[in-house]
Assembly symmetry: D2
Homo-oligomer: 156 residues x 4
């Protein structure tokens, strides 16, 4: 397991997978604006955490679906990136999300996993859990298609 | 046509549709945090506009897909709400988005439209255009399912 | 576990869950036309099997994506139905599928599972495996929303 | 307009677009098994028609959602193919469908349209109308991603 703060040298994808993901994540200014942080990076699986904040809510005071979607899309994209060769970037082609329960919690943990890797397209599944103290509730499920971009300016 | 800034009294859904939508939109704190604004409200169709801002970008400097998704999901939800009786709220059950081109532009205009209204479920389609001067490019397409919530605390 | 051919009396949902699912399945004439069969029925999880047949192929000789989709949508719908009270029917509101590999195999096994049950809406995930001898390959992933229908003629 | 039965020589994509689509469609044995027919082929838009048949129904006697999905997925795929160079085939990467009303009708007309063409990925939107005499009702909406396959045996 390569955690976001200290990759293991025994990691099959090399000791620098976590570094590459962190460097890319740090350039996503929206993630900083929302207050999201990388929580874990493993080959084929990434976790992103977002603490609740009043200025990210919808009309009932819950975390806005867009903030929930932002972290799970990002977790899926980085999960795909962990399986790519260096120099490649990943873009979201498309995704689908179901919202399973109101986003009520102290913090929100998004997990993205690669379902089927590919040289061009990678299919991921993701989920978001609302965490309050020791309790944890599944609030969102995503299925997403990512594309490897070998030039930063290409569209999908 | 009920514009976001001045509803027409001849509007079939009553002169207050725009007021209801604006009141709900104003309670979505994330929309304010992103800098999004209601641009137009008609029966079955809502437009939301978001100016480009550096702190909403992804790693290549384009507007982040999550910000694009946020405004089109919101436009779809409010389009559904324009056809609901007073007192009802709308929640996103699920949506699917395709990203069609990089989100490069001065501002972004999301349009949500009701495809099939219903007492419980309303199906919407949405799109986002990147606008730069007089040019306008389609960058995102959404298909979404909304649910009427007759109590503000119920989940989907 | 309530198998398709002999429900266990110890099943928490009652011994007749398998009977209800089989009775409904038998009325789906398209399933018979395709040659699909119920392979397993458990609370919250249903399996449907489809043997390869030449007249169900696409232009490259693989099983057509529509046949793959048919069995996994049906498996998800019946998984939802296993958690409903008697007399209720289930309709697909919407689903999304990713095709992960060509549908090459002797037979195809679709598994549908309930991700989040609900009185009105139930969210399911599904997958299809292509089976050839002892080997088994994941070829399709689905995320679906089902609605409980308390009158057979109501739409979604 | 290149109809399925006689392409116009003035068609921008060349007189043989309709021929290529018809040749590929004829190799989709599932389409024949269902009784589906190409109804129209234009650059970027294809229509497929399916007459109602008792052996294609679900448990309430309506056309099965899988048959509805089959024709609209196929219409989207062929719409994408009309914009591809000769020798290329098209595979469905993924799609999402919403079912908007029961599939009750004498026949069903699926229309697929290219929303955003691309060398690798093409995004389409589709819809299905139930037709009874002179009346026509929208029953299904699809959003789909297609991939150009330059070798018939490659997966997505």
């Amino acid at each position: 397991v390569t955690s976001a703060r200290g990759p293991e040298p025994s990691e099959p994808g090399g000791p620098d997978i976590g570094d590459r993901i962190r460097a890319s994540f740090a350039r996503q200014r929206l993630m900083r604006t929302l207050g999201a942080e990388l929580a874990a990076v493993r080959r084929g699986e990434v976790e992103i955490e977002l603490p609740f904040r009043d200025d990210l809510t919808q009309q009932h005071g819950y975390l806005h679906a867009a903030a929930v979607t932002a972290i799970v899309d990002s977790a899926c994209g980085y999960a795909a990136l962990t399986l790519m060769e260096p120099g490649v970037e990943v873009l979201s082609v498309e995704f689908k999300v179901n919202f399973l329960a109101p986003a009520a919690g102290e913090r929100f943990l998004a997990v993205g996993r690669v379902l089927r890797p590919g040289r061009t397209l990678t299919v991921c599944s993701g989920e978001v859990h609302a965490v309050t103290g020791a309790s944890r509730k599944l609030i969102c499920a995503m299925q997403a298609t990512m594309i490897a971009s070998r030039s930063p300016d290409s569209g999908a």
